[in-house]
Symmetry: C2
Subunit: 238 residues, 2 copies
DNA sequence: TAGTGGTCTAGACCACTAC
DNA sequence: TAGTGGTCTAGACCACTAA
Protein backbone atom coordinates (compact mmCIF):
# COMPACT_ATOMS: atom_id res chain seq x y z
CA UNK A 1 0.00 0.00 0.00
CA UNK A 2 1.44 3.30 -1.04
CA UNK A 3 -0.96 5.68 0.61
CA UNK A 4 -0.88 6.26 4.31
CA UNK A 5 -4.47 5.50 5.14
CA UNK A 6 -4.26 2.22 3.25
CA UNK A 7 -1.22 1.19 5.26
CA UNK A 8 -2.93 2.21 8.49
CA UNK A 9 -6.08 0.34 7.45
CA UNK A 10 -4.14 -2.86 6.88
CA UNK A 11 -2.20 -2.48 10.09
CA UNK A 12 -5.34 -2.02 12.13
CA UNK A 13 -7.17 -4.80 10.27
CA UNK A 14 -4.32 -7.22 11.00
CA UNK A 15 -4.24 -6.24 14.64
CA UNK A 16 -7.98 -6.89 14.84
CA UNK A 17 -7.67 -10.23 13.07
CA UNK A 18 -4.89 -11.29 15.44
CA UNK A 19 -6.84 -10.09 18.45
CA UNK A 20 -4.30 -7.47 19.42
CA UNK A 21 -7.39 -5.33 19.51
CA UNK A 22 -9.85 -7.88 20.93
CA UNK A 23 -13.51 -8.08 19.96
CA UNK A 24 -15.67 -5.80 22.06
CA UNK A 25 -12.89 -3.44 23.08
CA UNK A 26 -12.33 0.09 21.84
CA UNK A 27 -9.59 1.14 19.50
CA UNK A 28 -7.46 4.08 20.67
CA UNK A 29 -9.20 7.36 19.96
CA UNK A 30 -8.71 9.07 16.63
CA UNK A 31 -6.42 11.69 18.14
CA UNK A 32 -4.35 8.98 19.81
CA UNK A 33 -4.12 7.01 16.57
CA UNK A 34 -3.06 10.18 14.77
CA UNK A 35 -0.19 10.56 17.20
CA UNK A 36 0.64 6.83 17.11
CA UNK A 37 0.94 6.80 13.34
CA UNK A 38 2.39 10.28 13.12
CA UNK A 39 -0.34 11.55 10.84
CA UNK A 40 -3.33 13.85 10.85
CA UNK A 41 -6.72 12.93 12.20
CA UNK A 42 -8.48 13.07 8.82
CA UNK A 43 -6.07 10.46 7.49
CA UNK A 44 -6.85 8.19 10.45
CA UNK A 45 -10.52 8.76 9.79
CA UNK A 46 -10.15 7.51 6.21
CA UNK A 47 -8.60 4.29 7.48
CA UNK A 48 -11.36 3.90 10.06
CA UNK A 49 -14.03 4.54 7.42
CA UNK A 50 -12.61 1.60 5.48
CA UNK A 51 -12.69 -0.62 8.57
CA UNK A 52 -16.27 0.48 9.12
CA UNK A 53 -17.53 -0.44 5.66
CA UNK A 54 -15.75 -3.77 5.83
CA UNK A 55 -17.40 -4.64 9.12
CA UNK A 56 -14.31 -4.60 11.33
CA UNK A 57 -15.48 -1.87 13.64
CA UNK A 58 -18.51 0.13 14.66
CA UNK A 59 -18.05 3.78 15.51
CA UNK A 60 -20.06 5.19 18.39
CA UNK A 61 -20.32 8.92 18.90
CA UNK A 62 -18.82 10.25 22.06
CA UNK A 63 -17.40 6.83 22.91
CA UNK A 64 -15.09 5.42 20.29
CA UNK A 65 -14.63 2.63 17.76
CA UNK A 66 -15.61 -0.87 18.93
CA UNK A 67 -14.10 -3.98 17.39
CA UNK A 68 -16.85 -6.20 15.94
CA UNK A 69 -17.13 -9.95 16.00
CA UNK A 70 -16.89 -10.64 12.33
CA UNK A 71 -17.46 -14.11 10.97
CA UNK A 72 -16.82 -12.89 7.47
CA UNK A 73 -14.72 -15.81 6.39
CA UNK A 74 -17.22 -17.07 3.87
CA UNK A 75 -18.28 -16.20 0.36
CA UNK A 76 -18.91 -12.52 0.07
CA UNK A 77 -21.86 -11.62 -2.14
CA UNK A 78 -20.72 -8.09 -2.45
CA UNK A 79 -17.44 -7.23 -4.02
CA UNK A 80 -16.15 -8.69 -7.23
CA UNK A 81 -14.09 -11.69 -6.39
CA UNK A 82 -12.65 -14.38 -8.56
CA UNK A 83 -12.81 -18.08 -7.80
CA UNK A 84 -9.05 -18.40 -7.41
CA UNK A 85 -8.96 -15.69 -4.79
CA UNK A 86 -11.90 -17.14 -2.91
CA UNK A 87 -10.26 -20.50 -3.03
CA UNK A 88 -7.00 -19.21 -1.61
CA UNK A 89 -8.61 -17.14 1.07
CA UNK A 90 -10.79 -20.03 2.18
CA UNK A 91 -7.92 -22.53 2.19
CA UNK A 92 -9.99 -25.02 0.27
CA UNK A 93 -8.38 -27.37 -2.16
CA UNK A 94 -10.28 -27.70 -5.33
CA UNK A 95 -9.98 -28.37 -9.01
CA UNK A 96 -10.92 -26.43 -12.08
CA UNK A 97 -11.70 -28.23 -15.30
CA UNK A 98 -11.84 -26.21 -18.49
CA UNK A 99 -14.73 -27.61 -20.53
CA UNK A 100 -14.66 -25.20 -23.41
CA UNK A 101 -12.88 -22.20 -24.88
CA UNK A 102 -14.26 -20.82 -28.10
CA UNK A 103 -15.36 -17.68 -29.88
CA UNK A 104 -19.00 -16.80 -29.38
CA UNK A 105 -21.28 -13.83 -29.28
CA UNK A 106 -22.54 -12.84 -25.85
CA UNK A 107 -26.08 -14.22 -25.39
CA UNK A 108 -27.40 -10.80 -24.49
CA UNK A 109 -30.94 -12.00 -23.77
CA UNK A 110 -29.58 -14.00 -20.82
CA UNK A 111 -28.20 -10.84 -19.30
CA UNK A 112 -31.12 -8.57 -19.96
CA UNK A 113 -28.74 -6.31 -21.79
CA UNK A 114 -29.76 -3.93 -24.54
CA UNK A 115 -27.32 -3.55 -27.37
CA UNK A 116 -27.77 -2.70 -31.01
CA UNK A 117 -25.08 -5.10 -32.08
CA UNK A 118 -23.57 -8.48 -31.39
CA UNK A 119 -20.67 -8.57 -29.00
CA UNK A 120 -17.85 -10.90 -30.05
CA UNK A 121 -16.32 -12.64 -27.05
CA UNK A 122 -14.22 -15.53 -25.89
CA UNK A 123 -16.48 -18.03 -24.17
CA UNK A 124 -14.84 -19.91 -21.32
CA UNK A 125 -16.72 -22.69 -19.54
CA UNK A 126 -15.21 -24.15 -16.39
CA UNK A 127 -16.38 -26.67 -13.84
CA UNK A 128 -15.25 -26.21 -10.26
CA UNK A 129 -15.05 -29.31 -8.07
CA UNK A 130 -14.08 -30.01 -4.48
CA UNK A 131 -13.15 -33.60 -3.70
CA UNK A 132 -14.55 -34.52 -7.10
CA UNK A 133 -17.94 -33.07 -6.21
CA UNK A 134 -19.07 -30.48 -8.72
CA UNK A 135 -19.89 -27.19 -7.08
CA UNK A 136 -20.08 -24.44 -9.65
CA UNK A 137 -20.23 -24.14 -13.40
CA UNK A 138 -18.67 -20.85 -14.50
CA UNK A 139 -19.37 -19.37 -17.89
CA UNK A 140 -17.40 -16.28 -18.88
CA UNK A 141 -17.87 -14.16 -21.96
CA UNK A 142 -14.79 -11.94 -22.26
CA UNK A 143 -15.18 -9.24 -24.88
CA UNK A 144 -12.74 -9.50 -27.79
CA UNK A 145 -12.61 -5.73 -27.97
CA UNK A 146 -10.78 -5.70 -24.64
CA UNK A 147 -9.06 -9.10 -24.47
CA UNK A 148 -8.46 -10.55 -27.96
CA UNK A 149 -7.23 -13.98 -26.88
CA UNK A 150 -7.29 -16.31 -23.90
CA UNK A 151 -5.17 -19.42 -23.67
CA UNK A 152 -6.18 -22.72 -22.14
CA UNK A 153 -3.46 -22.34 -19.50
CA UNK A 154 -4.83 -18.98 -18.40
CA UNK A 155 -8.36 -20.35 -18.18
CA UNK A 156 -7.14 -23.26 -16.07
CA UNK A 157 -5.42 -20.86 -13.68
CA UNK A 158 -7.24 -17.57 -13.15
CA UNK A 159 -8.75 -15.13 -15.60
CA UNK A 160 -8.65 -12.30 -13.10
CA UNK A 161 -5.00 -12.82 -12.28
CA UNK A 162 -4.29 -12.67 -16.02
CA UNK A 163 -6.41 -9.59 -16.60
CA UNK A 164 -4.99 -7.61 -13.70
CA UNK A 165 -1.39 -8.71 -13.41
CA UNK A 166 -0.50 -9.54 -17.00
CA UNK A 167 -2.71 -7.25 -19.03
CA UNK A 168 -2.81 -4.44 -16.48
CA UNK A 169 -6.57 -4.12 -16.66
CA UNK A 170 -8.08 -2.37 -13.69
CA UNK A 171 -11.33 -4.04 -12.80
CA UNK A 172 -13.56 -1.67 -10.96
CA UNK A 173 -17.21 -2.57 -10.56
CA UNK A 174 -20.02 -4.92 -11.52
CA UNK A 175 -23.74 -5.31 -11.46
CA UNK A 176 -24.94 -8.71 -10.27
CA UNK A 177 -28.20 -10.57 -10.12
CA UNK A 178 -29.03 -13.77 -8.28
CA UNK A 179 -31.88 -15.98 -9.43
CA UNK A 180 -33.08 -19.56 -9.09
CA UNK A 181 -33.77 -21.43 -12.31
CA UNK A 182 -34.39 -24.82 -13.85
CA UNK A 183 -31.15 -26.14 -15.30
CA UNK A 184 -30.80 -27.51 -18.78
CA UNK A 185 -30.22 -31.28 -19.01
CA UNK A 186 -26.60 -30.60 -19.85
CA UNK A 187 -26.07 -28.42 -16.79
CA UNK A 188 -27.91 -30.89 -14.57
CA UNK A 189 -25.59 -33.62 -15.77
CA UNK A 190 -22.44 -31.58 -15.21
CA UNK A 191 -23.45 -30.60 -11.70
CA UNK A 192 -24.68 -34.13 -10.95
CA UNK A 193 -28.12 -32.91 -10.02
CA UNK A 194 -31.16 -35.07 -9.41
CA UNK A 195 -34.45 -34.48 -11.14
CA UNK A 196 -36.47 -31.46 -10.09
CA UNK A 197 -33.45 -29.74 -8.55
CA UNK A 198 -33.05 -26.06 -9.32
CA UNK A 199 -29.80 -24.17 -9.65
CA UNK A 200 -28.72 -20.77 -8.37
CA UNK A 201 -27.48 -18.50 -11.12
CA UNK A 202 -25.34 -15.45 -10.38
CA UNK A 203 -24.98 -13.26 -13.43
CA UNK A 204 -22.77 -10.21 -13.60
CA UNK A 205 -21.59 -7.54 -15.96
CA UNK A 206 -18.08 -6.43 -15.15
CA UNK A 207 -16.57 -3.05 -15.90
CA UNK A 208 -13.12 -1.51 -15.96
CA UNK A 209 -12.00 1.66 -14.24
CA UNK A 210 -12.73 3.72 -17.33
CA UNK A 211 -16.31 2.32 -17.42
CA UNK A 212 -15.55 -0.07 -20.30
CA UNK A 213 -17.75 -3.15 -20.16
CA UNK A 214 -15.38 -6.09 -20.64
CA UNK A 215 -16.99 -9.28 -19.35
CA UNK A 216 -20.27 -11.07 -18.78
CA UNK A 217 -20.30 -13.86 -16.22
CA UNK A 218 -22.72 -16.65 -15.39
CA UNK A 219 -22.04 -18.75 -12.29
CA UNK A 220 -24.32 -21.75 -11.93
CA UNK A 221 -24.30 -23.21 -8.43
CA UNK A 222 -25.55 -26.48 -7.00
CA UNK A 223 -28.33 -25.32 -4.68
CA UNK A 224 -27.06 -27.31 -1.72
CA UNK A 225 -23.57 -25.87 -2.09
CA UNK A 226 -24.67 -22.30 -2.46
CA UNK A 227 -24.06 -20.08 0.54
CA UNK A 228 -23.52 -16.38 0.24
CA UNK A 229 -22.64 -14.19 3.14
CA UNK A 230 -22.94 -10.46 3.23
CA UNK A 231 -22.17 -7.68 5.66
CA UNK A 232 -24.53 -4.80 5.10
CA UNK A 233 -24.95 -1.34 6.51
CA UNK A 234 -28.34 0.26 6.84
CA UNK A 235 -29.24 2.41 3.89
CA UNK A 236 -32.24 4.58 3.37
CA UNK A 237 -34.07 4.38 0.07
CA UNK A 238 -35.28 7.66 -1.35
CA UNK B 1 -30.06 16.18 5.55
CA UNK B 2 -28.32 18.34 8.08
CA UNK B 3 -24.75 17.96 6.95
CA UNK B 4 -23.49 19.68 3.85
CA UNK B 5 -22.10 16.69 2.02
CA UNK B 6 -25.36 14.79 2.53
CA UNK B 7 -27.31 17.66 1.01
CA UNK B 8 -24.89 17.87 -1.89
CA UNK B 9 -25.05 14.11 -2.37
CA UNK B 10 -28.84 14.18 -2.61
CA UNK B 11 -28.82 17.15 -4.92
CA UNK B 12 -26.37 15.50 -7.29
CA UNK B 13 -28.15 12.14 -7.06
CA UNK B 14 -31.45 13.77 -7.98
CA UNK B 15 -29.89 15.61 -10.87
CA UNK B 16 -28.48 12.33 -12.13
CA UNK B 17 -31.80 10.53 -11.72
CA UNK B 18 -33.59 13.26 -13.64
CA UNK B 19 -30.93 13.29 -16.34
CA UNK B 20 -29.85 16.85 -15.67
CA UNK B 21 -26.46 15.20 -15.62
CA UNK B 22 -27.01 12.63 -18.41
CA UNK B 23 -25.52 9.15 -18.41
CA UNK B 24 -22.04 9.11 -19.93
CA UNK B 25 -21.29 12.77 -19.34
CA UNK B 26 -18.90 14.21 -16.79
CA UNK B 27 -19.95 16.05 -13.66
CA UNK B 28 -18.34 19.45 -13.15
CA UNK B 29 -14.88 19.09 -11.66
CA UNK B 30 -14.43 18.95 -7.91
CA UNK B 31 -13.10 22.49 -7.79
CA UNK B 32 -16.04 23.74 -9.85
CA UNK B 33 -18.51 21.89 -7.62
CA UNK B 34 -16.81 23.39 -4.58
CA UNK B 35 -17.44 26.85 -5.98
CA UNK B 36 -20.97 25.98 -7.12
CA UNK B 37 -21.99 24.79 -3.67
CA UNK B 38 -19.89 27.34 -1.83
CA UNK B 39 -17.94 24.75 0.10
CA UNK B 40 -14.49 23.20 0.26
CA UNK B 41 -13.23 20.52 -2.04
CA UNK B 42 -12.98 17.86 0.67
CA UNK B 43 -16.66 18.28 1.40
CA UNK B 44 -17.48 17.82 -2.27
CA UNK B 45 -15.28 14.75 -2.26
CA UNK B 46 -17.30 13.20 0.56
CA UNK B 47 -20.48 13.64 -1.46
CA UNK B 48 -18.82 12.16 -4.54
CA UNK B 49 -17.51 9.21 -2.51
CA UNK B 50 -21.10 8.44 -1.56
CA UNK B 51 -22.23 8.63 -5.19
CA UNK B 52 -19.36 6.32 -6.06
CA UNK B 53 -20.24 3.59 -3.58
CA UNK B 54 -23.89 3.75 -4.59
CA UNK B 55 -23.05 3.28 -8.24
CA UNK B 56 -24.11 6.69 -9.52
CA UNK B 57 -20.71 7.70 -10.85
CA UNK B 58 -17.29 6.39 -11.69
CA UNK B 59 -14.29 8.58 -10.96
CA UNK B 60 -11.47 8.58 -13.47
CA UNK B 61 -8.11 10.09 -12.58
CA UNK B 62 -7.10 13.07 -14.60
CA UNK B 63 -10.47 13.17 -16.33
CA UNK B 64 -13.41 13.52 -14.01
CA UNK B 65 -16.52 11.80 -12.66
CA UNK B 66 -18.67 9.99 -15.24
CA UNK B 67 -22.37 9.39 -14.69
CA UNK B 68 -23.13 5.64 -14.81
CA UNK B 69 -26.11 3.91 -16.32
CA UNK B 70 -27.62 2.45 -13.20
CA UNK B 71 -30.49 0.02 -13.42
CA UNK B 72 -30.56 -0.27 -9.69
CA UNK B 73 -34.31 -0.15 -9.32
CA UNK B 74 -34.61 -3.71 -8.10
CA UNK B 75 -34.13 -5.55 -4.88
CA UNK B 76 -30.80 -4.65 -3.37
CA UNK B 77 -29.02 -7.53 -1.69
CA UNK B 78 -26.74 -5.23 0.14
CA UNK B 79 -28.06 -2.74 2.58
CA UNK B 80 -30.63 -3.46 5.21
CA UNK B 81 -34.00 -2.65 3.78
CA UNK B 82 -37.46 -3.39 5.01
CA UNK B 83 -40.26 -4.78 2.91
CA UNK B 84 -42.38 -1.65 3.24
CA UNK B 85 -39.59 0.53 1.91
CA UNK B 86 -38.88 -1.82 -0.97
CA UNK B 87 -42.54 -1.89 -1.74
CA UNK B 88 -42.84 1.87 -1.86
CA UNK B 89 -39.71 2.40 -3.86
CA UNK B 90 -40.74 -0.21 -6.39
CA UNK B 91 -44.28 1.13 -6.71
CA UNK B 92 -45.70 -2.35 -6.40
CA UNK B 93 -49.03 -2.89 -4.74
CA UNK B 94 -49.03 -5.77 -2.41
CA UNK B 95 -50.54 -7.14 0.75
CA UNK B 96 -49.09 -8.25 4.04
CA UNK B 97 -50.92 -10.82 6.11
CA UNK B 98 -49.88 -11.27 9.72
CA UNK B 99 -50.02 -15.00 10.41
CA UNK B 100 -48.69 -15.02 13.92
CA UNK B 101 -47.43 -12.83 16.74
CA UNK B 102 -46.32 -14.61 19.87
CA UNK B 103 -43.54 -14.90 22.41
CA UNK B 104 -40.84 -17.38 21.49
CA UNK B 105 -37.18 -18.00 22.04
CA UNK B 106 -34.96 -17.38 19.04
CA UNK B 107 -34.20 -20.73 17.33
CA UNK B 108 -30.47 -20.08 17.52
CA UNK B 109 -29.51 -23.25 15.68
CA UNK B 110 -31.19 -21.85 12.56
CA UNK B 111 -28.94 -18.85 12.67
CA UNK B 112 -25.70 -20.56 13.47
CA UNK B 113 -25.47 -18.31 16.49
CA UNK B 114 -23.58 -19.23 19.64
CA UNK B 115 -25.14 -18.10 22.85
CA UNK B 116 -25.01 -19.47 26.37
CA UNK B 117 -28.62 -18.61 26.99
CA UNK B 118 -32.05 -18.50 25.45
CA UNK B 119 -33.06 -15.23 23.87
CA UNK B 120 -36.69 -14.24 24.55
CA UNK B 121 -38.24 -12.58 21.55
CA UNK B 122 -41.45 -11.57 19.86
CA UNK B 123 -41.99 -13.86 16.90
CA UNK B 124 -43.76 -12.22 13.97
CA UNK B 125 -44.70 -14.27 10.94
CA UNK B 126 -45.98 -12.45 7.86
CA UNK B 127 -46.91 -13.53 4.37
CA UNK B 128 -46.32 -11.09 1.54
CA UNK B 129 -48.52 -11.40 -1.53
CA UNK B 130 -48.80 -9.58 -4.83
CA UNK B 131 -52.10 -9.97 -6.67
CA UNK B 132 -52.90 -12.79 -4.25
CA UNK B 133 -49.76 -14.66 -5.25
CA UNK B 134 -47.59 -15.46 -2.25
CA UNK B 135 -44.05 -14.16 -2.69
CA UNK B 136 -42.24 -14.13 0.62
CA UNK B 137 -42.73 -15.52 4.09
CA UNK B 138 -41.05 -13.27 6.63
CA UNK B 139 -40.22 -14.48 10.12
CA UNK B 140 -38.89 -11.94 12.57
CA UNK B 141 -37.56 -12.58 16.02
CA UNK B 142 -37.37 -9.24 17.80
CA UNK B 143 -35.52 -9.41 21.08
CA UNK B 144 -37.64 -8.57 24.15
CA UNK B 145 -34.59 -6.98 25.75
CA UNK B 146 -34.77 -4.21 23.15
CA UNK B 147 -38.43 -4.11 22.09
CA UNK B 148 -40.72 -5.50 24.82
CA UNK B 149 -43.95 -5.50 22.83
CA UNK B 150 -45.19 -5.39 19.27
CA UNK B 151 -48.82 -4.81 18.34
CA UNK B 152 -50.69 -6.45 15.52
CA UNK B 153 -51.17 -3.06 13.87
CA UNK B 154 -47.44 -2.40 13.83
CA UNK B 155 -46.73 -5.83 12.36
CA UNK B 156 -49.30 -5.23 9.63
CA UNK B 157 -47.65 -1.95 8.75
CA UNK B 158 -43.86 -1.89 9.09
CA UNK B 159 -41.62 -3.04 11.91
CA UNK B 160 -38.75 -0.86 10.73
CA UNK B 161 -40.87 2.25 10.58
CA UNK B 162 -41.95 1.52 14.16
CA UNK B 163 -38.43 0.82 15.38
CA UNK B 164 -36.86 3.89 13.82
CA UNK B 165 -39.56 6.54 13.90
CA UNK B 166 -41.51 5.62 17.03
CA UNK B 167 -38.93 3.95 19.25
CA UNK B 168 -35.98 5.97 18.00
CA UNK B 169 -33.83 2.89 17.48
CA UNK B 170 -30.93 3.47 15.14
CA UNK B 171 -30.46 0.41 12.99
CA UNK B 172 -26.94 0.21 11.75
CA UNK B 173 -25.73 -3.05 10.24
CA UNK B 174 -26.46 -6.71 9.63
CA UNK B 175 -24.87 -9.96 8.63
CA UNK B 176 -26.82 -11.90 6.02
CA UNK B 177 -26.67 -15.34 4.49
CA UNK B 178 -28.50 -16.65 1.45
CA UNK B 179 -29.13 -20.36 1.04
CA UNK B 180 -31.41 -22.71 -0.87
CA UNK B 181 -33.32 -25.26 1.21
CA UNK B 182 -36.15 -27.75 1.18
CA UNK B 183 -39.22 -26.12 2.71
CA UNK B 184 -41.32 -27.70 5.41
CA UNK B 185 -44.78 -28.87 4.33
CA UNK B 186 -46.28 -25.89 6.11
CA UNK B 187 -44.06 -23.41 4.29
CA UNK B 188 -44.68 -25.14 0.96
CA UNK B 189 -48.41 -24.79 1.53
CA UNK B 190 -48.21 -21.11 2.47
CA UNK B 191 -46.09 -20.26 -0.56
CA UNK B 192 -48.23 -22.46 -2.81
CA UNK B 193 -45.25 -24.47 -3.94
CA UNK B 194 -45.33 -27.65 -5.97
CA UNK B 195 -43.55 -30.81 -4.88
CA UNK B 196 -39.77 -30.81 -5.11
CA UNK B 197 -39.54 -27.05 -5.21
CA UNK B 198 -36.86 -25.46 -3.07
CA UNK B 199 -37.03 -22.09 -1.38
CA UNK B 200 -34.49 -19.32 -1.04
CA UNK B 201 -33.84 -18.36 2.57
CA UNK B 202 -32.24 -15.06 3.49
CA UNK B 203 -31.29 -14.98 7.16
CA UNK B 204 -29.92 -11.96 8.91
CA UNK B 205 -28.84 -10.75 12.30
CA UNK B 206 -29.52 -7.07 12.74
CA UNK B 207 -27.67 -4.70 15.01
CA UNK B 208 -28.17 -1.22 16.41
CA UNK B 209 -25.71 1.66 16.29
CA UNK B 210 -24.33 0.74 19.70
CA UNK B 211 -23.68 -2.85 18.49
CA UNK B 212 -26.69 -4.27 20.35
CA UNK B 213 -28.10 -7.31 18.58
CA UNK B 214 -31.83 -6.71 18.40
CA UNK B 215 -33.38 -8.89 15.70
CA UNK B 216 -33.08 -12.15 13.80
CA UNK B 217 -34.80 -12.37 10.45
CA UNK B 218 -35.70 -15.24 8.16
CA UNK B 219 -37.10 -14.40 4.72
CA UNK B 220 -38.35 -17.39 2.78
CA UNK B 221 -38.80 -16.68 -0.93
CA UNK B 222 -40.55 -18.51 -3.72
CA UNK B 223 -37.65 -19.52 -5.99
CA UNK B 224 -39.30 -18.18 -9.12
CA UNK B 225 -39.99 -14.82 -7.49
CA UNK B 226 -36.54 -14.40 -6.07
CA UNK B 227 -34.34 -11.85 -7.80
CA UNK B 228 -31.62 -9.96 -6.02
CA UNK B 229 -29.59 -7.25 -7.63
CA UNK B 230 -26.32 -5.92 -6.37
CA UNK B 231 -23.89 -3.23 -7.35
CA UNK B 232 -20.39 -4.22 -6.31
CA UNK B 233 -17.01 -2.58 -6.38
CA UNK B 234 -13.88 -4.63 -6.82
CA UNK B 235 -12.27 -5.60 -3.57
CA UNK B 236 -9.01 -7.34 -3.00
CA UNK B 237 -8.94 -10.17 -0.50
CA UNK B 238 -5.87 -10.30 1.73
C1' DT C 1 1.05 22.74 -20.08
C1' DA C 2 -3.36 23.12 -17.72
C1' DG C 3 -6.84 20.62 -15.59
C1' DT C 4 -8.29 16.57 -13.22
C1' DG C 5 -8.81 13.57 -9.20
C1' DG C 6 -5.86 11.36 -5.00
C1' DT C 7 -3.68 12.31 -0.81
C1' DC C 8 -2.51 14.80 3.28
C1' DT C 9 -2.29 18.48 6.73
C1' DA C 10 -3.37 21.41 10.93
C1' DG C 11 -6.48 23.55 12.54
C1' DA C 12 -11.58 24.62 14.00
C1' DC C 13 -16.28 24.01 15.94
C1' DC C 14 -20.00 20.94 17.03
C1' DA C 15 -22.91 17.12 19.40
C1' DC C 16 -22.65 13.45 22.11
C1' DT C 17 -21.06 10.43 26.23
C1' DA C 18 -19.47 9.78 30.65
C1' DC C 19 -18.17 11.18 35.05
C1' DT D 1 -16.09 19.00 32.46
C1' DA D 2 -13.03 16.31 29.51
C1' DG D 3 -12.91 13.21 25.88
C1' DT D 4 -14.99 11.21 21.90
C1' DG D 5 -16.35 11.06 17.00
C1' DG D 6 -18.75 14.19 13.06
C1' DT D 7 -18.14 17.93 10.13
C1' DC D 8 -15.79 21.47 7.60
C1' DT D 9 -12.08 24.45 5.92
C1' DA D 10 -8.19 26.36 3.06
C1' DG D 11 -4.52 25.28 1.77
C1' DA D 12 -0.63 21.99 -0.34
C1' DC D 13 1.69 18.55 -3.35
C1' DC D 14 1.27 14.58 -6.27
C1' DA D 15 0.11 11.50 -10.48
C1' DC D 16 -2.50 11.24 -14.23
C1' DT D 17 -4.84 12.86 -18.76
C1' DA D 18 -5.23 15.56 -22.64
C1' DA D 19 -4.06 18.95 -26.01
Amino acid sequence: MRNKFGAIYHDLANKIIHHIYPVGTYLPSETQLAELYGTSRETIRKALAELLTNGFIQKIRGKGSVVLNLQRFNFPVSGITSYKELNNSLHMHSKTEVLCIEDQHVPLENFDYQSGQNLPATFVERLRTIDDNPIVLDRDYVLKSVVPNISHAVAADSLYNYFENKLGLIISYATKTITVEHPSKEVARLLALGDHQDVVVVRSQNYLEDTTLFEFTESIHRPDKFNFVDFARRQKIN
